[in-house]
């Protein structure tokens, strides 16, 4: 069971209180009607599915109820950081020395 730090509650809590909510920083287009089919499929379905540092959303569904963002390494499952919704993507390399989105086999 993962331990997840909720940036709103300020507590590190068991995974059972949280629900995963997909990749982060995929903003809904301002004017969906103006989107081409190709653009819309990008928004709807295409995902980076990173093997490495993954930016993703969680909801503290059985806690404060807030959606927030996290950077987590998908090979170790370790959280590098969590941050509030709407905040910019943190510089993971500066934070941890790990390059975000690093492909397997690279250093």
């Amino acid at each position: 069971m993962l331990l997840i730090h909720c940036p709103y509650c300020g507590e590190t809590l068991p995974e059972t209180e949280f629900a995963y909510a997909g990749e982060a920083h995929i903003a809904r287009p301002e004017n969906p009607s103006e989107q081409t089919d190709a653009e819309w499929v990008e928004y709807l379905f295409m995902r980076s599915n990173v093997k490495g540092v993954h930016f993703e959303r969680w909801r503290h569904i059985h806690g404060c109820g807030r959606f927030f963002n996290a950077a987590r390494h998908t090979v170790t499952d370790k959280f590098l950081t969590t941050y509030k919704a709407g905040e910019p993507r943190p510089d993971i390399e500066a934070l941890t020395g790990i390059k975000a989105g690093v492909k397997e086999g690279e250093k």
């Binding site: 069971m1 331990l3 909510a21 009607s33 089919d37």
Partner: protein, 997 residues
């Protein structure tokens, strides 16, 4: 009676005999015995049969790594379990044990015919045969293989025992109650840390329990142990015996299973059998010691051949002599010490055969002093004996050449192939191991969790080293906790660490192709099988394992993995790390399902949600159906009515006069704030701006892909407040989706969402007399058609209760839905029943609700839609706010396939024969005479007998259905083809006059 028990010796209670049965015969053990030690004390070595060859087997070990001595155990009705390790299960009253995998008896097993034809059953033999003729696999070969496989028999009765679970949060968890673990726990506890210490056996002490001669801190080892345990207790350490650390999970969470009551003669009322502990420790010390390896030689599996350390444990911990005349075969000093202990206890030790040419002179002289023949540079050729070893053949080895063998009579053979650090839990963390080429062992390397390894687990041998290392590990953990450690390791006397070498299968002067040199005892994998697998191209240990099944037995490779690896490396001519190491996966030892399920059983398996009116329904004979987490009244049969009769009566009563229905399970969400209407506009397809307070509207919710997700009637209570209803199953999902958009996409909107599903009990009253029933109970509101028209909402008082009153209809009749505080749901219901008595008010369930709505063509999301249906498909285009700039799903609806022609559209179906009811889910074709696979154009989503119409009705999704009105379609059934005509979906009151009464 017992000739193998040494009076007064060991840690068993010699004054407390315990009686148990084995294969129907009663045996006497002592309190503190395991079943294995008690049987050995009675001279019983033969305890089971092997998996493939049904070879007779006895206990090889004295611990959880035991592959052979697995028994069925039973306490009482429903309390049978297979494959219990005799080496771990303590004797108790009310214990029946039975041997396994034998037919008809343990001593005479006809399955052993496999053993005689063993050359056929080489590694991977089943991949190469049993293919002809093809039909034989299912009918002949597979049943044969299956019947031969398996060990014990599965339980056949429901388990009456309870199981428990706990979460626990601590500073330091120490796994392993040997001296290293105890010292680590002491170090932590003395520094003020909150510590838990666990060990899988019945007693703390680990190997020390098998070596009473050791002195620690100037005391006898066992006295030091008692003092240490006392100190741990006084420092508040939770010391847990009979507790196995089964798995090491993310973020220092360790799963423990405590065997709470299997050792007790009588179990107190309410006590669990086992308890799962989910420990979250800031620091973990793994002090799990090392496992002794067997040696691999022909006949190394006969009853009486066992690990040297096991014999030492049976002697010193349980006071049991494992035989009268022993031969020791070894590559490690530790077996010499075991031999000395046995010899000093009066067991004849005929010889020690050691593969090493050079042996420590002190060992040799001590052996000779004890009258033991010393055979350096000796290998084992074979053993003899059918149900018990009778002799062992040994031969000298010189420069790889094996000389002439000689036979030494004996009744036990003690073997030691050296020691493997126990790193299973460390491996669960995906910590990396490194190969120590000198010691020929894997040791812990890169850590991924807050963990320390102490003692033999990292290749340190001897009590002095283990105690020192326990302190080191404890100090590291204590420091990481921000505390100060003060503990120091005590001095040790009579320490016998010893050294040894690791070998592959032992050299032999016989034909190695015929050797029955077992690597995995339980799965009957021999050295020859592993070499064959390599010859056939299996170059990784993972392939070798899967091809031979080495290491896949219930000991999880504890006995076999390292020997298998050494032999495979030898066969490949590669160093072990190039061949790999099978990943250890949880659990450490097999774990009872009950402990994992713990409280989540029977009716506690999952919540059954009931409404405030459920009790009334139950008292009045309702039949219930499960709907998501809820149970809902399905129908209310009267005097022997079946479902069809009850539903027909409920429908007729409602259409004719008035019916009453518990709608409390519908999801309710209160949407409040200055931007509430804007939020509604963006989420639901419909336009909301012009909906006046006091009015309601049917709302439709899509996914971003344009498909229908949910629906419900939504009322505007005031400018800034909406009462949203959702489907029963959709309540949580819809709220989560709304929160997602609100928090993530539209954080600027000043609006908040609150679930009020359980704030309100909801009762629907429908039928031409609905108003007459309700009116007398309403205060503060005129509910006449003029003052309170269809699709209105208001707050008022009903039956003296504060209420939110909807005027709406899901039946096509005049209808009201009354929401009152949840705890008063039954009060309202009974008031309405009373008020409705003069109109023969009829309670109805979900089935009647379904029929009535289907007569009106109202859809049920999830029944008439399936996640691939657009509003257009469902005939709900009118619910789209076409002038709105956007709503969830608006863009998705414009994708090519969603606007293409030929989409399946929701229509009505009337069978040619009005008595024939279509099956829901039945498929529709245009040409019933085509061959299979048929071209299906749609399917029946809803189908009922309509008492109102005196015939059956159905709804269906049919390709281009809107343009096929009055066309005939066909529904091929297994026995006949049904014809039906496509119609509109509104079968009753198409003008919609009834709701406007």
């Amino acid at each position: 009676m017992s000739t193998y028990r040494i009076q007064g010796r060991g840690r068993v209670n010699h004054s407390e005999p315990v009686y148990f049965t084995f294969d129907g015969k009663t045996y006497t053990g002592l309190r503190g015995d395991t079943v294995a030690s008690a049987l050995l004390a009675n001279g019983v070595h033969l305890m089971g049969r092997s998996f493939k060859y049904h070879r007779p087997r006895g206990a090889v070990s004295a611990g959880s790594d035991e592959p052979n001595a697995l028994l069925g155990t039973r306490r009482g009705k429903g309390q049978f379990e297979p494959n219990t390790r005799a080496t771990l299960q303590e004797v108790r009253g009310n214990l029946e044990t039975t041997s396994q995998n034998k037919l008809p008896s343990l001593k005479f097993d006809i399955g052993a015919i496999n053993d005689a034809s063993y050359m056929m059953f080489s590694a991977g033999f089943y991949y190469k045969t049993f293919m002809w003729p093809k039909s034989f696999w299912d009918k002949v070969y597979e049943p044969f293989i299956r019947a031969a496989a398996g060990l014990g028999v599965a339980p056949s009765e429901e388990d009456p025992d309870d199981y428990a679970a706990r979460y626990v949060h601590i500073d330091l968890l120490v796994v392993g109650g040997g001296v290293a673990g105890i010292m680590a726990a002491l170090t932590g506890a003395r520094a003020g840390a909150k510590v838990v210490l666990v060990d899988e056996t019945a007693e703390m002490g680990g190997a020390l329990l098998s070596e009473p001669a050791v002195t620690i801190g100037g005391m006898a080892g066992w006295d030091w142990l008692a003092a240490a345990l006392e100190e741990l207790e006084s420092l508040g350490v939770q010391v847990m015996t009979r507790t196995t650390a089964i798995g090491y999970y993310h973020e220092n969470m360790v799963g423990l299973v405590q065997r709470v009551s299997d050792h007790l003669d009588h179990v107190p009322e309410g006590a669990p059998r086992e308890r799962l502990w989910r420990v979250r420790a800031k620091q973990v010390v793994l002090a799990q010691g090392a496992l002794e390896k067997p040696l691999v030689f022909d006949g190394n599996d006969r009853p009486g051949v066992m690990l040297a350390s096991a014999a030492q444990t049976y002697l010193n911990r349980y006071g049991v002599k494992v035989g009268s005349r022993a031969v020791v075969v070894t590559t490690h000093d530790s077996a010499w010490y075991a031999a000395f202990d046995l010899a000093e206890a009066g067991i004849s030790v005929a010889a020690i055969a050691d593969i090493r040419p050079k042996i420590d002179a002190e060992l040799v002289s001590k052996a000779r002093a004890l009258g033991i023949e010393v055979l350096p540079s000796h290998t084992v050729i074979t053993t003899r004996g059918r149900l018990r070893v009778k002799s062992v053949s040994v031969a000298p080895v010189s420069n790889g050449a094996v000389g002439t063998s000689r036979v030494i009579p004996c009744d036990v053979v003690l073997m030691s192939g050296g020691w493997t650090p126990s790193l299973h839990l460390f491996s669960h963390t995906q910590g990396k191991l490194k190969w120590d080429a000198e010691a020929q062992v894997y040791l812990p390397d890169v850590k991924t969790e807050e963990v320390e390894i102490a003692g033999a687990g990292r290749g340190l041998w001897g009590y002095g080293a283990a105690l020192e290392d326990g302190v080191v590990a404890g100090r590291t953990a204590v420091k990481a906790l921000g505390l100060r450690a003060t503990a120091r390791a005590p001095g040790v006397g009579v320490d016998r660490p010893g050294t040894g070498i690791m070998v592959k299968d032992l050299p032999t002067n016989g034909d190695p192709g015929k050797a029955r040199a077992f690597v995995d005892f339980q799965n009957d994998v021999t050295a020859k099988d592993i070499r064959l697998a390599v010859r056939e191209g299996m170059r990784s240990i993972e392939h070798v394992k899967r091809y031979t099944t080495n290491g896949m037995a219930t000991d999880q490779g504890k006995m076999s993995n390292m020997n298998g690896l050494m032999i495979a490396s030898d066969a490949l001519g590669k160093a072990p790390p190039q061949v790999g190491l099978t990943t250890f996966r949880p659990p450490y030892t097999p774990t009872t399902f009950g402990a994992l399920a713990n409280y989540v059983r029977g009716h506690q398996f999952e919540v059954t949600r009931k409404t405030a009116i459920d009790s009334w329904a139950e008292e009045n004979g309702a039949v219930f159906e499960p709907v998501s987490q809820w149970r809902r009244a399905w129908y209310f049969p009267k005097d022997g009515e079946d479902m069809a009769a009850a539903v027909a009566r409920e429908c007729a009563a409602t259409r004719k006069s008035v019916g009453i229905f518990d709608a409390s399970t519908l999801g309710k969400i209160e949407v409040v704030g200055p931007d509430a209407v804007e939020f509604m506009n963006r989420t639901y397809t419909n336009p909301w701006t012009k909906l006046a307070p006091g009015r309601t509207r049917y709302g439709l919710l899509l996914g971003e892909d344009g498909y229908i997700r949910d629906d419900g009637v939504i009322g505007r209570l005031s400018q800034d407040r909406f009462h949203v209803t959702t489907t029963t199953g959709g309540a949580a999902r819809v709220l989560n989706m709304m929160e997602d958009y609100l928090q993530t996409e539209w954080p600027d909107l000043k609006v908040w969402l609150t679930s009020t599903t359980e704030q309100w009990a909801t009762v629907a009253v429908n039928g031409p007399n609905a108003r007459k029933v309700l009116e007398p109970l309403v205060e503060g509101l005129d509910i006449s058609n003029e003052a309170f028209p269809h699709m209105s909402i208001a707050e008022c008082t009903v039956a003296g209760l504060p209420a939110r009153l909807f005027r709406l209809s899901f039946t096509g009749e005049l209808g009201f839905e009354i929401n009152v505080p949840a705890s008063k749901g039954r009060v309202l219901w009974e008031a309405l029943m009373k008020s409705g008595a003069e109109y023969d008010i009829c309670p109805y369930g979900t089935e009647t609700m379904h029929v009535l709505r289907a007569e009106k063509g109202y859809i049920i999301v999830g029944q008439d839609t399936d996640g691939t249906v657009t509003p257009g498909d469902a005939g709900l285009d009118w619910a789209l706010g076409k002038k709105k700039p956007d709503f969830i799903g608006m863009r998705g609806l414009k994708r090519p396939d969603l606007v293409a022609s030929g989409r399946r559209q929701l229509v009505g179906l009337l069978t040619s024969d009005p008595k024939v009811k279509l099956e829901e889910g039945a498929q529709i074709v245009l040409d019933p005479n085509q061959p299979k696979p048929m071209k299906m154009v749609g399917w029946v989503t809803s189908s009922y007998y309509s008492a109102t119409l005196g015939r059956t009705i159905a709804m269906a999704l049919i390709e281009g259905g809107f343009d096929k009105m009055n066309d005939t379609v066909y529904i091929p059934m297994p026995d006949k083809t049904i014809t039906a005509k496509i119609t509109g979906t509104v079968f009753y009151d198409p003008e919609g006059e009834k709701v406007k009464l």
